[in-house]
Symmetry: D2
């Protein structure tokens, strides 16, 4: 039996952006958790009250797949690792021959005993690139096995990629788009809109996001709830939303500047695309168009724009929740109020 | 502007279950990634060919919230931690007074310098319990602050909970339902249905899921793609799907037994509910009813049933993908084939 | 061929202590890295200029060993886990029968597929307890296997203990002594002695220890160099210094209080003993006596005193290094200076 | 007061080596834990019974220091990161001008909000390189600040290095020597010498080292007790033994090959040197000479040899302990026996 699961969706904002993406942009959030809408909405309102709004920087982009080979022994695996890395140009040609959009840009190897993990990094244009890297990896494995009869096929994916898993490798070697969103909020706006102060938000961020995450045993992650915003915008824009697992690993950082609040969200692992699986649903297509992510640009530019908007959306929701948590009782009150309002159709 | 994002959904299975849930059960999967349906379907078919099918054990259930207090100094924080832990019965009464369903069952404290983190664990009946623990935590904080004038409010959530984040604390102290799904597959079925052998699946699980995850820097997690199945069934059953972040931390384990395959998925952090936000959408309500999770049972039993079904679904998809990855070229071939079939409306 | 490796050793301090240990205490540091002595010495000097000195709190103490059993299937493993936990009193008697000093205080179980990990926590008096828990675990395994014929021996140690490894479980469930050392330093002393300010040390701690450790992918740890002080005092007091691996997982936390500096080191996993292997070397025995850790006290009190002194020593070195790193060029300059001075015999 | 702490030291072996280091080599182990000697000795005996002995591969070598800068905002930090990376040749010249031995080989940057972490990787010849990279980093920071007036000094070390801390970055980007030691042991030798079988050792390694470490929340590490061997040989050879913290992060891997045992230890982070602090003690100098690590070779070759010997030593101890743990009761029995023997002066 087939059908559809309809997720309630609202457009929130507009958010004011500058830096790598300029302008005001509303964003669609598909979620069962309705308090998310006004929460992101409050952050968006703050962004519009600040001249530059949220400044976004797209730092890097790549998609990865790690293949696994077995060798007769460790020394052979190490020698093969060196040879494969040295042949990157030749292997890049293998990729280009199979795909117009995929482009091999880096190879990282790791040897454990006689196991050889080879992690390929590719540019994948405007696609998130899951299928593109798998297809490329198939061709690369075949080429490598042809050149290295001493190796055997281990797996098309060796978990050193790593897809939809919270790991350290993605942030350190890169996977997906790496984006930083930042805002400098005058003290008066912090007080009026967020009912807090820079000092209190900084203290909370240090105690909760940094120290609290440390004792929880978090991994390369220090934030309050990136996963909520990511899920909602990923669903509304046709993304493979299971990528919120690694996408939600990121760092909220705040400092006080003469009473003003410098607040940033650093998201090293945003897997987003504007073409590919899920993007041809009419609702999704419409959403991507309204987000300005279906324009005729150089390959990758639409997805970069989407990544920047996603990061700004995350910042809006993160800022709003942290501010609320500086005040005893505010979180629950607003949840109850909002859910009541939402149920009443507001 | 509001509306709906319709996620394509198919019912897959039935899966044969035994242990804490007995019978055959189809499951709904809402996803943009259509290859997931036949992949889980293959695992379900295997389960029906085995007499006991997939045996599920629900090991534990609880929902948590960690509050944060500040003390003037560490010694005061330590003393308060001891006093609060000792007063658990009194604090349990505070919770019971505010809610019929919530029940305080445990308190864990951790002190860092003069910061005091207090992690409350509650039974929350058939609800996943996000709001219930926040409401309870508010009452608990008020009660604690009234008794401890030396403490100050820090935050209603101190990230030691931890919600929608990949951490170590959830698996070790518990959060959500902890479930193990296991199946013993005769060698002939492994060969016919999964085109592999027990020995090859065991080797792949060790090399990829255990060693590969280790070098990736994974955290208390060793599996191929739990996140995919979790997202799909969470969306189709109205769950807060951002909880796949911690839900997907789990361990696939396989051993060979005289040529047969003993294969298990251990999922310590499944956050699921059968009542609450998102559960009153008609499609979701219908799904929960068909899953047998809206029966008139003792509080928690419907959610336990759902958790068990979710774990069995994860096992079906995990088994199928690992088997495919033991064969060079099979993964891409089946992806391409399935996507073509799906696009053709099959 | 046997002999001795003589590690250069200096007594540093005295450190002024209050809280669970009161008085002034010099400490022995055995190290090849001579700059450590003046660095800890500077911290000690600061402690003597503050009325309360360093306030130490010993929060918890226990030693652990996790045994591993195998069951025919997961359901059997889960049932056994429950039965074993329920029999803690009976198992405690097994431990007491084998040892005067060991006392079973807690059992934690974790089941992965059909593997059953049982983690025993014991009081071990003044011994660090490595051998005591192994001996106890042997008796406990025998008792459990006698009662559970459905289980088989897996391993006397299942790495869920975990000994001499950086893991999350030790901090969360406890292993060794958990100690917090804290000091409140007036602004003038920060300036005069540490050539810095509270604000600058707080900023550095947040940026380097908290954010820097997060991006490095640290695990439940946020400090500059606990390992250095731990190694030196462990060697000088006859400890099993390989325990610095988990011992060095800890959190430095700093806040500004009206210009003064509130600075703390939280060390959840200090494995120390005042009796046992290595403690009967004359130099070690002399060191333990001078530290006041060979007194006639209730079991565990001498080791608790040692743990508190160790934590205070860590604080002295951590404070001094962080202060130095707030100033460009100071670290290298002092290293060069000190090594020259040391070489000159100062 | 100054003096010496004499650590009991025995020479164990010889170990038979092949691959990057060829021959038989005894090793010095300084430890308070005397059972370590016969344990490593048993592994050494096994190595001599196998024709190739232990095959060692040195995969990589580098030392790192991560500096920290602050920028006015994230966009500026990102721009500076790109500019600094692009200027690697110019910065390499800065390093060469300050040191004959240090050579800059790589730069990795990471930006969090407006914080810029710059991680420098250097060749440091036969020195472990702690001081060399600090000295180089000072020069590099000065050069960068001169070129980038928009940046400010943050810290000479930003914890993204990372020194004497268990993190993910060291294994992934490299720090110290990366070494693999491997041995293929015929079934008969496994049985006679280790009283076990390949199948049982493989099963134990998977269950304990891989699964057990996973549930413990270990980080890029899966072994039984690397820290013990590392500490003992580090102390005896004048190393900065606090580096066992990251050094002990490594992976033991075992497979059965037609009844024989293929067993390896992969150690990505061995920080060792044959010159520098601690190396001029007569006992240490003598040890390094006997290890063949004071020969007149190209820079780095002596330290590489030492790293290979260290890894082989780790393998001997790891193999012996794992074999013992496959047998119920053996560990304690041998501990008791050995300690009695040792106490009796054997």
């Amino acid at each position: 039996m087939t059908g559809e699961t309809p997720i309630p969706t609202s457009w929130v904002g507009p958010i004011r952006l500058s830096g790598d993406v300029v302008g005001e942009q509303s964003v669609p959030l598909a979620t069962y958790e309705s308090p998310l809408w006004p929460s992101v909405g409050r952050g968006a309102r703050v962004s519009r009250l600040v001249e530059d709004g949220i400044r976004v920087s797209v730092v890097d982009e790549r998609m990865t797949r790690s293949t696994l080979f077995t060798a007769p022994d460790a020394a052979t695996a190490v020698a093969a690792a060196r040879a494969i890395t040295a042949r990157i140009d030749e292997l890049a040609a293998v990729v280009s021959a199979r795909s117009r959009h995929a482009q091999l840009i880096d190879i990282d190897t790791e040897v454990v005993g006689h196991l050889l993990f080879v992690r390929f990094a590719l540019r994948t244009g405007d696609a998130s690139g899951h299928n593109m890297v798998t297809l490329a990896a198939e061709g690369l494995m075949a080429a490598i096995l042809a050149n290295h009869p001493e190796l055997e096929y281990g797996s098309i994916s060796g978990n050193f990629c790593s897809d939809k898993k919270a790991t350290a490798v993605n942030g350190i070697l890169g996977r997906g788009r790496s984006v930083i969103a930042e805002i400098l909020i005058p003290a008066a706006i912090v007080e009026d809109q967020l009912r807090s102060t820079a000092a209190r938000i900084v203290a909370l961020n240090t105690r909760k996001n940094l120290v609290g995450s440390t004792i929880a045993g978090a991994l390369r992650s220090s934030n309050a709830h990136y996963a909520n915003m990511l899920l909602a915008i990923y669903l509304a824009t046709g993304q493979d939303a299971a990528n919120i697992v690694e996408g939600s690993q990121g760092i909220t950082y705040a400092e006080e500047r003469d009473g003003d609040l410098l607040f940033s969200c650093t998201l090293p692992n945003l897997i987003v695309g504007t073409v590919g699986n899920g993007k041809d649903l009419p609702v999704v297509e419409d959403a991507l168009q309204r987000l300005g992510c279906r324009e005729d640009r150089e390959p990758g530019a639409n997805a970069r724009r989407l990544a920047a908007i996603v990061a700004a959306t995350v910042l809006c929701g993160e800022l709003s929740l942290l501010a609320a948590q500086t005040n005893q009782g505010e979180l629950m009150q607003s949840h109850l109020l909002l859910e009541r309002r939402t149920e009443a159709g507001a």
